[in-house]
Amino acid sequence: MNPILAGIETEYGFLVEGHGPEELVDDATLFVQSHPGQHYAGWDYRFESPRRDLRGFVLSQLATDPQDALWDSGRVRVSDAEIRSDRVLTNGARLYNDHGHPEYSTPECWSLRELVLHDLAGEEWLRRTAHSLATRLGRSVRVFKNNSDYHGASYGTHESYLVPRSLGFDRVFAACLPMLVVRQLVTGAGKVGAESGAWVDFQMSQRADFLVEVTNAETLFRRPIFNTRDEPHGPPDQWMRLHVICGDANRIPSCTARKVGLVKLALTLAAEELAPRWPIRNPVQAFQAMSRSLRDDARIDLEGGSWTTPRAILESYLDAAEQGLGLKPDTRPLAMSLLSDSSWADDLACIVGETRAVLESPELAAQRVDWRAKRGLLQMYLDSEQASWRDPIAQALELAYHDLDPEESLFDALVSAGEVDESWPPAEIERRRFEAPEGTRARLRGAIVREMASQITHLSWSKVSVLDQEWMLPPDLEVFDPLDSPTQIEEFLRKIKKAP
């Protein structure tokens, strides 16, 4: 069992008071440019390859959304670099304008604890940047951590996992696809209504309506369950990246940990050749039907005429982890167990035990799974007001759940009321606003941004050029605390500063 490096990219929804969707690209540029902290402005896109497919070919072009093209027609804009306004932060994260959304990419993290804390640090940066933009414009700004606008536009919360190329596409695909279909049961953010097909009062997944294919490399249109974009951000002969785009933006932090932990579990089982085999007959239909069923015993048809349930599939992974990997499940709340344990095996044991606990207890699930917490809250309101799921207030309340402003957010209201029990220490989150995860190349990236941003000529996930010298940053580079003696970062910076 080897640890797996992972990160999360969140495209946030946002509104500037008095502005319409036609202005979102320009507003997102201003939003990013309002980032109030220390950063390096720029990003090196020369080595990115979004059209390269894991299956060994390159697409001639990627699809775009026709509605967005209409909004853009006739508009004259500045350069791509200015529109994107990339920012690299001292914690190794990125903030930029991606298709009219402020996008925050966490730095690469080895542990689930670090990833959750950096995701929360990203939320805090978004709040502060929104405040800065509101001051600049003299208008209020609202930011939402969600994935849909109820009018057919979706924007993603993507996960990236560094996977050895030697594992191969077929093995990764077979191990992960069933997990990607069923994990929504314990990780979905929940949504009122539907944006494709017939109306549904409530569904588990924010993204299910937008999935139309099992596999492809697209992300803006014709989105797949299993995205095949092949951008490892490291030596391609050694690494590939599993780029997951079908997951939801979670407000409950342990839901974020569970979402990532379950994919790490599937990848670990793939590496050990222990992953359960589930030949789902129509994965897209199964994903969408499951989302709408709200049931853990919904029927999932398999090749050959048999069928199974989401719960059976999920439990087969947990069984394989316990029996095949010998993990002893930890049933404590994820926030508690991930904060007190630190090893890679501990991470997976926490995920296995806590997922089982959530599956077995509806009461626990209502406190730890976004779609269940949200649905319970909204149902309480609708019952009290004798309102219907079809009334506009239902989607309005759902949107308020995702509001990042604690004074407006119904998620924060649930936490304050003690209905959702999440105790991630504010001081730890605050530290991650400035500090990159230990043991990662992000530590080096962040240190260079902090110490010598003005001397950077190019910066990307895997390379840095300072004072005309270029260094590769392999993804498995281990960089530890610069306060320890003598460190890679200090040596690196000293070398750069001495360069001719």
């Binding site: 969707p21 220390q38 993507h158 309005a396 308020a400 649930l414």
Partner: protein
């Protein structure tokens, strides 16, 4: 919503460097819903048309 003149949420100035031994920002001084009634009150303050007016671009 986040406004320029919000006074209930404290925003600390950006430090030159992080200080690991500090306690971090203060929690916002918010009205804390104490139970279902408070949650309902909070929900009744939500603009019922806000989702109708919410339009975004298609992202990734």
């Amino acid at each position: 919503m986040i406004t320029a003149d919000r006074t209930t949420r404290r925003l600390t100035e950006e430090p030159e460097r992080k200080h690991a031994d500090e306690d971090g920002p203060q929690k916002p001084d918010l009205k804390k819903p104490a139970g279902p009634n408070e949650l309902l009150k909070r929900m009744k303050n939500v603009d019922p048309d806000q989702a109708k007016k919410y339009r975004q671009r298609s992202g990734q």
